[in-house]
Amino acid sequence: MKKEITISVNGEKHTLEVEPRTLLVHVIREHLRLTGTHIGCDTSSCGACTVLLNGKSVKSCTILAVQANGKEVSTVEGMATADGLHPLQEGFKENHGLHCGFCTPGMLMRAAELLENNPNPTEEEIRWGISGNLCRCTGYNNIVKAIQYAGAKMRGEETPSTEPEFV
């Protein structure tokens, strides 16, 4: 009872046969071997699996692969370009926005949509904006900073200092 689906992932088209119950996250991770997208829960709570589906951030553990048929999926692997890192990736690195890195791909994808919709978010808007993504390591301060840094860079403004305020 497999179904054929065609999805475009990071600009590359894939046609594959899946069981109708197969989750999008498993297609991404196991069929296409793009393991940057992670799984952190079984209740749609953690956001580690966040990808963009036609530009909107979704939890890929909560979407069936067949629902993505004919759509565009973007994952962390597609973020950097020939010109280098995406400003968000740079922001996370420069501001120590990650420790173990397990939540990071999901955070990056979620933040990408956030900045797309709101290029200059306040701290509060960032915090609410990423509240569907759990990070157990960083305490979020530096994730907020990383997103502010990327926002500034994408707006063409000078990026804020990345020195830790550690008196």
Partner: protein, 776 residues
């Protein structure tokens, strides 16, 4: 040192190229899923796998009886207790592993799991640890011959008689009973493994989420040696780990079953648990019931303390403490204060709850101890009507009194508690805040200021006292410098996000003058890294970090000999500056470390061993004692009980700092893991032993919204005995934050006579407490 070098490991993580256990896919790999008990205590009457085995893709269903044939159905815990791998007749807690389903893919394994029929005969479980000690309680561990009750062990330290005398005569005695709730590390990556047994070569490669790969290899050899898996046949690889926090120290049944299955079928077997399984079955942390008392004078001098603990370990003592320390380092609980009379005792019990007692971001029960001492110190200040900051300042151990002998036998290495608290008070604007609070109180508004000034104890530990299953708790570093002057360094520890690839490189760079970007750090492969006890309890910098410095210094000694030979001078004529040796008074006559290393391979002095590498196993002479002064400000809505953390200032002292950016990041993360149990997290069980919040939907890990914007800072009091004066920091904030928050909330409520609330302090608890005091 002291430089916020950006992390070397980040490049792969931000581009989706991290390599975690679940990313491993081997040819022919099978998937394992686990059938778990719905009951907290039940006899297993039958397990029927017939339907499961009919499902396409299901290869096998493994039960305790199957493992029994190979004597693999039991395993030791790290505390020398015993634990079932799979049960043969009885389940002891809800979500316990009952059978394993092996299939060709994860969906088929899950189908198989649903189809396994298990018939249970439920029994009345023992959930309350106090009831577990009652004389009429059923004996739970009937597997232990002659066991007549549910008591595991008794522990005590201090001077009982002197403490009793002090308390009977003291001007002021305060007392609180508190529960440090059962919580979970909840790292975003759950636990899992790929066990890959190669029949032809009789060799097991075990990829697993472990913080202590070397110790695990030894444990596997101890458990499975009798079936031919001896230690040289086992390679444990701990790839990137998505957060550990102590939860990835123990050996869980799932790992052992995966090994057993791979061993029997000769194929790789992957097991990765779900979040719900992780929360419901893997080791919990804390769960200490503590009665704490403090005796002092009316003027505010602390004279002594007394602690009585009941430790709920669940089905088995699966803590991961050093062997001689059943309560871990709880005895640090006398705190940062200068007094010499204390008595502490603890009893541990079995209940029908999941086993554990792991040291969650904590040097083994320090969190529990610090909560008790910091809460009771505030309680004492409240009792005598003294400002809690002033009371602490008057009672602190003085800077000049270090090294300081604690009444429980520790030698605190160094500290400057006055400076830390002063900096915290200045940063937050303490006096102004107290004025604001007084104003607000007049208007009936609830604002609280909470302080925690803790002493930590990390870096286990000196081998005379510290071992796990007999293995001494040293740690190791091996540095190999290649002919072109670039290095690879390997360690017995294992980062789970702490940034070892960067900080260890910085330590070696500092000692040898080779740039950090030219030093590759590797950990987690037992075939290549030197033996060590792993990363937990903030021990990596105190032990392996020290080993790195000492190994690098051995190399520097060798470099001096080679430089003397190359420059044709005596060794004493040479002076070192990072990166080169030069002739005293003639700095132009110099050899860089790169030239020296090249010579070690191409032109070394006759009689000297060629090559340029060194290994060191560092056995610390003492633990290190980081400290901190935290201040939390809360505003509480009297109508709803809602608590808002307005500000939180954390001043840490972890000695010399290798990378301020990483230290600060550790502090941020630990603080969020501190607010979690203080306000949100607790694993709750009903009286039948059902977990009531075993998923991420109802176990409330703080998001960016609950987590305040942390304000951090530091003071520096180097450790006098650590080679680079560092102390370790990872767990300080997790340990220090909960009492600061609890003290702030209780402070806000204190005008109504509320002296204590158990964490997690939820709006409902606050609302209820206020209503009980007649506030409407």
């Amino acid at each position: 040192m002291g430089h916020s070098l950006k992390r070397k490991e980040d490049a792969r993580f931000i581009q989706g190229k991290g390599h975690y256990v679940d990313d491993i896919q081997l040819p022919g790999m099978l998937h394992m899923d686990i059938v778990r008990s719905p009951y907290a205590y039940a006899k297993i009457k039958s397990i029927n796998a017939e339907e499961a085995l009919k499902i396409p893709g299901v290869v096998a269903v493994v039960t305790g009886k199957d493992l029994e044939k190979y004597n693999l159905h039991w395993m030791p815990t790290l505390m020398s207790d015993t634990q079932m791998v799979l049960p043969t007749d009885t389940v002891m807690y809800q979500a316990q592993e009952v059978a394993a389903v092996i299939a060709t893919d994860r969906y088929a394994a899950r189908d198989g799991k649903e189809a396994v029929m298990v018939e249970y005969e439920p029994m009345k479980p023992v959930i309350d640890p106090y009831k577990s000690l009652a004389p009429d309680a059923p004996v739970l561990r009937t597997d232990k011959e002659g066991k007549k009750d549910n008591h595991i062990w008794h522990w005590e330290v201090g001077d009982k008689e002197a403490t009793e005398k002090l308390f009977s005569e003291a001007e002021v005695v305060v007392k609180e009973q508190m529960h440090i709730p059962r919580i979970h590390v909840a790292s975003i990556e759950t636990c899992g493994c790929v066990a890959d047994y190669d029949k032809i070569n009789n060799h097991l490669t075990m990829y697993m989420t472990t913080q202590a790969p070397h110790a695990i290899r030894t444990v596997i050899a101890l458990v499975a040696g009798h079936v031919g898996l001896t230690e040289e046949k086992i390679r444990v690889i701990s790839p990137d780990i998505g957060g550990g926090f102590g939860g990835k120290v123990p050996v869980y049944p799932g790992y052992v079953i995966a090994i057993a299955v791979s061993f029997l079928v000769g194929k790789p077997v992957k097991w990765v648990e779900d979040r719900s399984e992780n929360l419901q079955a893997d080791s919990f942390a804390r769960d200490y019931h503590i009665t704490v008392e403090m005796a002092g004078t009316k003027a505010g001098k602390i004279l002594g303390t007394r602690f009585k603990i009941l430790a709920d370990h669940g089905y088995t003592d699966a803590a991961a403490n050093p062997s001689k320390f059943p309560t871990g380092m709880f005895s640090i609980g006398t705190g940062s204060y200068d007094y010499q009379t204390t008595f502490m005792e603890a009893d541990a019990v079995y209940t029908n709850k999941p086993p554990g007692g792991v040291a969650y971001r904590c040097s083994f029960r320090v969190t529990e101890a610090v909560h008790a001492i910091e809460r009771i110190t505030d309680r004492f200040a409240f009792e005598i009507g003294k400002d809690p900051a002033a009371l602490r300042m008057e009672n602190f151990i003085k800077k000049e009194d270090f090294p300081w002998k604690s009444p429980t036998g520790w030698e605190y290495d160094s500290g400057d508690y006055h400076a830390g608290l002063k900096l915290a008070m200045d940063t937050v604007g303490y006096d102004e805040l107290r004025k604001e609070q007084a104003e607000k109180r007049k208007r009936g508004e609830l604002m609280g200021i909470g302080i925690s000034t803790f002493t930590e104890i990390v870096g286990a530990g000196p081998s005379k006292d510290f071992d796990i299953l007999g293995i001494k708790m040293f740690d190791s570093a091996e540095i190999r410098v290649h002919p072109t002057g670039k290095a690879i360094a390997r360690f017995g520890t294992k980062s789970q996000g702490q940034g070892h690839e960067t900080t260890y490189a910085q330590i070696i760079a500092e000692e040898l003058g080779i740039p950090a970007e030219n030093i590759q750090v590797e950990e987690g492969d037992t075939d290549t890294a030197p033996y060590g006890l792993g990363t937990y309890a903030s021990r990596s910098t105190p032990t392996a970090g020290a080993a790195a410095a000492v190994a690098a210094r051995k190399l520097r000694d060798k470099a001096r000999k080679i430089a003397a030979y190359l420059l044709e001078v005596s060794e004493d004529d040479l002076e070192w500056e990072p990166g080169k040796f030069f002739v005293k008074g003639a700095p132009e006559k110099a050899k860089t470390i790169q030239e020296i290393v090249f010579a070690a391979y191409t032109n070394h002095p006759q009689g000297m061993e060629a090559g340029f590498e060194a290994t060191h196993y560092y056995d610390p002479p003492n633990l290190t004692f980081p400290s901190g002064a935290y201040i939390c400000i809360v505003d509480i809505d009297k109508e709803t009980g809602e608590i808002k953390v307005r500000r939180f200032v954390a001043i840490d002292d972890c000695g010399n700092i290798i990378n301020p950016m990483i230290v600060q990041g550790q502090v941020h993360g630990g603080l969020t893991q501190g607010i979690a149990p203080a306000m949100y997290e607790e694993l709750i069980y009903d009286e039948d032993g059902n977990i009531l919040n075993g998923t991420f939907m109802d176990y409330l890990v703080p998001t960016a919204v609950e987590s305040p914007s942390w304000e951090t800072g530091h003071t520096v009091t180097p450790s006098p005995h650590h080679p680079i004066g560092a102390k370790g920091v990872g767990e300080s904030p997790t340990v220090g934050a909960p009492p600061a928050i609890a003290n702030a909330i209780v402070d806000a409520l204190s005008p109504y006579g509320i002296t204590h609330l158990d964490i997690p302090i939820t709006p409902f608890k606050v609302w209820k407490a206020l209503r009980e005091k007649g506030v409407n």
